[in-house]
Subunit: 282 residues, 2 copies
């Protein structure tokens, strides 16, 4: 069991909370039972090292919520799955796990992972039915929640422009609640290139914007398409909306000025799912 | 202009960040141009005192984003509207505004407000078409975002059980982005009473739950109804689902385990809006 919180290993894992270190090392952190379970199940190839605290919840025990028993059970299931896949597993003390983690409550599990993003070509070659393109999305929680919503809606991919938040930011990883490992994600491509290439691949480009001139319910979603979402504060730039085939707005029935990015994206993507996938949901 | 950050007034305003003080004083804070604009416009009766910083953005200027010019313009518009309504307005220094506020960036405006929640009877007497009932929702951001989504979807009210987060928590107020002042909100009633009274008023009770046996698209939403949402981590208790007429789930098309509370609520409420309000949206 690793117990030295000051070791080089602990410091190098902890340093992955910083973007520059993640980029230099080509590694990132997945923390907690949910994220670690999903990467072990869906992307075991991405796991470099898995660390676990045998006591399971450590100091968490004193503040247990209903469901904490399931956390312990889940940890055991994750470790079993990791062993079956031949992954590198190390037991650590509670203190070491906390020292490695970006969060105060890693809940017994942490994995050091290799990037899981894929090439734009690979996504477009699969002839996606609908995807979401995030341009200049900066808030980690928003980006992660959109990825979670895209997964739930059955989108075929999420494409992030190079000006968007780093998807390996621990806050993004946490807020995807495992969805980061469920669907293809493209990063690091300029927004203009994403739009050009998506169109060339036959996708209709739909800008989602509160000032759009077409209502969500009035747009034809039966053709393959990409939802283009902008920055949470400024929306989409004029260059981006000009490059799209339609500018679509979610109707506001009450007095709210707007919906937040994740809510708007989820409504748009579920509208797509309803049209594209209605036959395979039960 | 008030410049003494140590004055009794500043301390008593700042203390409203604490629930016990809010309850004792019967007051709460609305911070920033959006929230203050909405309370001045929609609920001027609730404004006890409005504080503004003449320079508008103060220290914010050094970190301005696109749109900050609009913030200054907006502040002027808010002050003009407040004057027209005869509200109490005081100019304060930047330091005083920051000292009064729960946030680091109050952006030039802060209002001390009286509670805006309404009686359950008043809501039910209006024969609502659809409402949302929040039971045991504890996270301020989630509660606020659901209120925002309910407003956007045109819900007729939001009813929070007495075990839910205080809607006057500054984080709730902020995350409603003004919607707190747009639609009737009921608080402080036990969940069981909310359900009993809603049913007695003729509302169909629809529990939203990831384990529901009816899909969102399959439920009849043409009758008046209440969406019943549970705690973000544990979901709905068995007693609550047993008291409802149907347990409805939002379909998950991909591999995501669940949607978060705000996303699920927004999808359910927009489904209601599409059925109940389709004729009056353009």
């Amino acid at each position: 069991m690793l117990t030295n919180t000051g070791s080089d290993r602990v410091r190098s894992v902890r340093a992955l909370s910083r973007r520059a270190v993640r980029q230099r090392e080509g590694l990132f952190l997945a923390e907690g039972p949910q994220a670690v379970s999903e990467v072990v199940t869906h992307r075991p190839d991405a796991v470099q090292d898995l660390y676990f605290e045998a006591r399971g919840l450590g100091m968490e025990a004193s503040t247990r919520q209903p469901g904490s028993r399931q956390v312990v059970t889940r940890q055991a299931a994750v470790l079993e799955a990791a062993r079956e896949r031949g992954l590198s597993i190390r037991e650590v003390s509670h203190e070491v796990l906390v020292a490695m983690s970006d969060t105060l409550a890693p809940q017994g599990l942490l994995a050091v992972c290799r990037p899981i993003d894929v090439d734009l070509d690979a996504v477009l070659d699969e002839r996606p039915r609908f995807v979401v393109i995030l341009t200049h999305v900066r808030d980690p929680g928003n980006a992660g929640t959109v990825i979670r919503g895209a997964d739930a809606a059955g989108a075929d991919a999420v494409l992030l422009s190079d000006s968007s938040v780093d998807i390996y930011n621990p806050k993004v990883v946490r807020s995807t609640v495992g969805s980061l490992f469920h669907l293809p994600i493209v990063t690091g491509v300029p927004a203009a290139t994403l739009l050009d290439r998506a169109r060339a691949a036959g996708l209709v480009l739909l800008a989602a914007d509160g000032n759009g001139d077409v209502l969500l319910g009035d747009i034809d979603l039966s053709r393959p398409h990409a939802w283009v979402m902008g920055n949470e504060a400024w929306g989409l730039g004029a260059d981006v909306t000009a490059a799209c085939d339609a500018v679509v707005r979610v109707p506001i029935y009450g007095k709210a000025e707007s919906l937040n990015l994740a809510m708007a994206a989820t409504l748009c993507l579920y509208q797509s799912a309803g049209v594209q996938k209605h036959s395979d949901i039960r």
